[in-house]
Each structure stands twice: as structure tokens, then as C-alpha cells.
Amino acid sequence: MSFIEILLSAFKGLTANKLRSALTLLGVMIGVASVILLLAVGNGSAQQVDSAISKLGTNTLTVRPTAAQGGSSSSGSSSTKVITRDVANQLGSAGLGHVSAVIPQVTSSLNVASSTISETAISVIGTTPGYFSVGTNTVGSGAAFTQADVTSSAKVAVIGQTIATELFPRSSALGQSISVSGTTFTVSGILSQQSSTGFTDPNSVVIAPISRVQDSFTGYGAVSTLTVLAKSSAGVTAAQGEVTIMLNQLLGVTDPTTEPFTIVNQSSLLATAATSAASFTVLLGAVAAISLLVGGIGVTNVMLVTVTERTREIGIRKALGATRGAILGQFLAEAATLTLLGGVLGVAVALIGAQFQINGTQPVILGYSIPLALGVSVAIGVFFGVYPAGRAAAMRPIQALRAV
């Protein structure tokens, strides 16, 4: 028999009990669809994390002071071990080979108000104009403040879009005055829309010259973050080394294990995130694979019933000269056809399902998952069909013919 004929006759066998075949097919379909779809969800969320991190810029390093080393018996006084704006300036002007800019930031959580509306606990960032060249922190409308504004501690601010619309719901925020904990700032620019990377809204932020924020709110102590821009993405690791050595020098640290700061490399963050996303995908895939397995057991079950029901037919076929192999092939073909149909429908369901956001994640179907799922579904048909088909093939013709 040709391949087409085998498929046709297998299909005919399946139509003998349409409801039963359809229900079994449903089990396989759900299994295949969930494998493809859950892998797509895992992949989609991995891509989300990837793009969020790459938006931070792959050529940046983030230096954060670690918690104060209370009462350590170090040689210098504790005040020399704090990264101040002064340290940042020295780092920036040290002429490090792989570093193009050092951008200090101080942050504070303050009340921000327009003449009519007040918002509490808004993140206020004091920084230098270089901040607006990092990642996606670009000014959408208006203008950023300048180095001159930093020098003169000008009361100007760039605000995020959420703040802009909340404080000035009816008019543009540009040029308006806002009060930050009693100090009046003029809005010079509005940030472009920032995509969320975590629990906080990156559009709910006020950015002002670092000198002004230190003057008015935080004082002249340690900065909260240094963003170091490397000259190229490839030079990030080298820049990290340079910055570590230079900072240790500037801070008088002799023992590298007591460094009062940590440096986060965006590309290492990316690698970590990619690893966790991959394990998430594997986990989802494993859950889906279990449902496919359950579908497969359903195939065994239904094929066993089919073989029992068709014992007489098997006897007739054997009397007419069907070999063991022919009977085995017939029932394997039926099981494989059943699961292949389920697989095709499952792929269709997954393709439709992937059009929708699932729990805030846009699924991205992995190209290999479709042929994989189809292949696996046929393999499941064969694997779970072997036992029932083997039982059919092993029947002795006289006993099979005697069946009612």
C-alpha cells in the first residue's frame, strides 16, 4: 500500500467511532497547543526582559555604594570611603582609556506639586546633563538642563510623562513651575515615554541638576549611583576594571574585599536575565510536556479499546494473509494519524492563542517548536500505539475470528 493509501485507511478506521477519536484528538491537541504556546510565552517574556535590559544600554556600568562598613579598622577615616560628587568628577577626569563619561546621580523621594495638584513620594533625581544620553533617557519635548545649569545650581527640571500629565492635566507642563518640597522649579523638558522595567513607573520622575538637588534636599554626602559610560559595548569589561582600580585609589581602599561599592555590568545583568528566562521557558515547557504525555496515554487507552472492538476484523485480515507486520502497521498508522491530526489542530490553536497577550506577555512562537511539537505528536502516537498495535498483531487468527 502506498503512504497515501495507508493514511486514508487509517483515517477510515478512526471515523469508525468519531466521538471517541475526537476526544482523544482533543487531548493531543491541548497537549501540543500548550507546549507551543507556553514555550512562546516563556520566549516572549525572555525577549521582554532582554529588550528592557538592552534599553538601559549595553555600554553602561552602574556603580552603587554598598552599605557602610560600620567600625571597620581601616586606615583612612570613614568619610574618605564615600563616593561623593567630587570623587565622581575626579573619576570622570582621570582620563581612563575605556570610559567616556561618568554621570553621578543622587535620588530622593519628595512631594511634588503644581499650583493645584500635589503628588507624594515622587522620585527626584539630581544628575548631570550626560544622564540624558544614557539608554532611553531622552528628552521628548522641551530641553534638558545644561552643564551651566549644574554649575549655577539652576532651579530647572525635566519631568517624566506621568508627572507631567498628572500635575498639568489640561495644558502642557513645559515652562510651568512646580514645587518640589517647597522649592520652585521651572519645567524645561519632558522625558520621552519610558517602558517599565519593574514595579516602579519610570515615567513618574523629576530630574534636576545635581547641584540643586544636593543644595536643597540631599546634602553633599554620597551619591546614590554613578553611571559610567564605556566608549564601546566591547570595552565595558575593560572599563569596569579601570573604574574599580581608580575608585579604590580615589577612596584609599587597600583591600579589594572591602570595596565600598559594587559595579553592575549591564551585559552580565543581561546574561543573568537570559539564564533565568531560559529556565522559566524550560519550566513552562515541562508543564506542557506533561499534558502532552497525558494526551498520549489517552491514545493508548483508546487504541486498546479499538483493538478489542476490532478483534474480529483483525482475525479476518489475518485469515486473508495479513502478516504480523501488516496489522502492527495498520494500528500504528491509526494512532499516528490520530496524534498527527491532534498535532496539526494544536498548532493552529497555538498560532491563534499567540495573537493574544497572556498575563501581560506577548507570546513569541519559537520557530523550532512547531515542527518539534508535530514530530513529537507523531512519535507519541507511535510510542503509545505500539502496545495496543502489538497486542493486535500478536493475536492468533483462530481466536480472533472467534470473537463476536
Binding site: 500500500m1 502506498s2 469508525a16 486473508l320 502478516t323 492468533r396 487468527p397 483462530i398
Partner: protein, 246 residues
């Protein structure tokens, strides 16, 4: 109807078509052993029309299974068209059944949900005959039994007599050495019975070797030779009036 089509003519062989010597069939072991056949010696010549009679439990079903290569005898030799089949393995037996034996069963045993022609084609499918050739021979066989216009009907759409005629077409389509019928009229009314027996007569006239297992006298009387089995042994072997007429 004609049975003289070259494709469905039986193969010719020298000597007896069937030869059983001292065939025993024992089921079970020890005290529980059942001796279904206890030393059968039988020769059937090419073109003979034999009826095997006997009450139930006499061993005639076992005879049918052995003759049709559905089962292998415990001891003794069975030669079918010159081949000793008593030592063959399962696949070789399947091939012998496919090529040498045409079965006709009491309950017709057509495969449900398959058209008449697909049923007739089935032995050719297992004999690895090409599709076009298969279809042509199956259609010819159906025409031979007068059902050329019913080839696309499903078994459940045919009467009992018609189903049995499809089964006869299926038995003949491979031009088997032996046509083996097990109570072929047991499930039929008298009209259909006469029809089927008439068909057997034509097959016999055509020189086919036919063995019919039956417990009905009037069916047996159609044959040329009647064997009676009792307790696993052939107790009588006689030629009938019909044979004498020929």
C-alpha cells in the same frame, strides 16, 4: 455468469492438492489435554469437491483451521500444493493463506465500513498487488458472482446472500489452490442457500478444489465426496451420486 476467466483459474499441480498424514491436534497438556484430531490421513485431488461432516465437537472446526493454515497441527505432516506447511512460521503461513487458500465463512466476515470492492481487494493488498491491477481483478471477481453493480456498497447495505457472494469473490480473487468454506450457508435463508450452492457447483465444474465444512446433509450432498469425522478421526469417506453422474 462465467467462471472461465483466466485470472481466476486455479493453479495446476501434480499429485494431490491436499495431503494430510497422521495429523494430530492436541490442545492443552497433561490431564487437561484435548485431542481434537487423532491421526487424520487424507488426500484431496485437484478439482475435487469435498464435504466434511460431523457433529459439533467432532473435530471438524479443527480440521478447517489446519486445512486453512490458520493453525498448525501438533504432529503429522500437511502438504498443500506440494509445500509442507506443517513446519512454517507465522509469516510464511500468512503468505500461504494469502496465496493458496480462499476462505468462505458462515458469518461472511466482511470487514465493516469497507466497500464490497475494497473487501475483495484486501487479499491482493496483502499480496502486494498494484492498485490498478487490484481494482481490475476485484471488479472482475465481483462481476463473476453477479455483484458488479454493487461494488461500492458497504457490507451492511447488502443482503446475507449478497454478502456471502462478496465473500466468495474475495476467496476467488487470488486464484487460490483451495477454496475452504466453513458452514457457508449456515446464516442464509433457503433461497440464498440454493444460490450459493449453485455457485459452488459452477466452481467445481470449473475445476477448483473445494472443501466445505458442514453439518447439513443437503449441503454435503452437493459435493462429490463426503467425509464424516467423529472423535477426531475420519470414520466414513464416500463419493456421492453427483460424482457418479459426472
Amino acid at each position: 455468469m462465467t467462471f472461465l476467466d483466466s485470472d481466476t483459474r486455479p493453479r495446476t499441480a501434480d499429485g494431490p492438492v491436499l495431503k494430510l498424514s497422521n495429523v494430530h491436534q492436541v490442545y492443552g497438556t497433561g490431564d487437561a489435554a484435548v485431542h481434537a484430531l487423532r491421526g487424520i490421513d487424507l488426500e484431496v485431488a485437484q478439482g475435487d469437491y469435498v464435504a466434511i461432516m460431523g457433529p459439533s465437537g467432532s473435530g471438524k472446526s479443527t480440521m478447517m483451521n489446519v486445512l486453512g493454515c490458520l493453525d498448525v497441527a501438533s504432529s503429522g505432516t500437511y502438504t498443500l500444493a506440494g509445500n509442507d506447511v506443517s513446519t512454517l512460521d507465522e509469516n510464511a503461513l500468512a503468505r500461504i493463506r494469502n496465496e493458496q487458500v480462499g476462505f468462505i465463512f458462515q458469518s461472511f466476515n466482511l470487514v465493516p465500513r469497507m466497500s464490497a470492492i475494497a473487501n475483495v481487494e484486501l487479499p491482493l493488498v496483502y499480496g502486494r498487488v498494484g492498485k490498478a491491477e487490484r481494482r481490475r481483478r476485484a471488479q472482475e471477481a465481483l462481476e463473476m458472482v453477479g455483484l458488479g453493480d454493487r461494488s461500492e456498497h458497504q457490507p451492511q447495505e447488502l443482503s446475507g446472500g449478497q454478502q456471502q457472494r462478496v465473500a466468495i469473490a474475495r476467496a476467488l480473487v487470488t486464484s487460490p489452490t483451495l477454496v475452504l468454506a466453513d458452514e457457508p450457508t449456515g446464516n442464509l435463508d433457503s433461497t440464498s442457500t440454493d444460490e450459493i450452492l449453485g455457485m459452488f457447483d459452477l466452481l467445481a465444474e470449473d475445476g477448483r478444489t473445494i472443501v466445505v465444512i458442514t453439518h447439513e446433509d443437503h449441503v454435503a450432498e452437493q459435493a462429490h465426496r463426503v467425509l464424516t469425522i467423529s472423535d477426531g478421526l475420519i470414520v466414513t469417506d464416500r463419493t456421492t451420486a453427483r460424482k457418479a453422474r459426472r
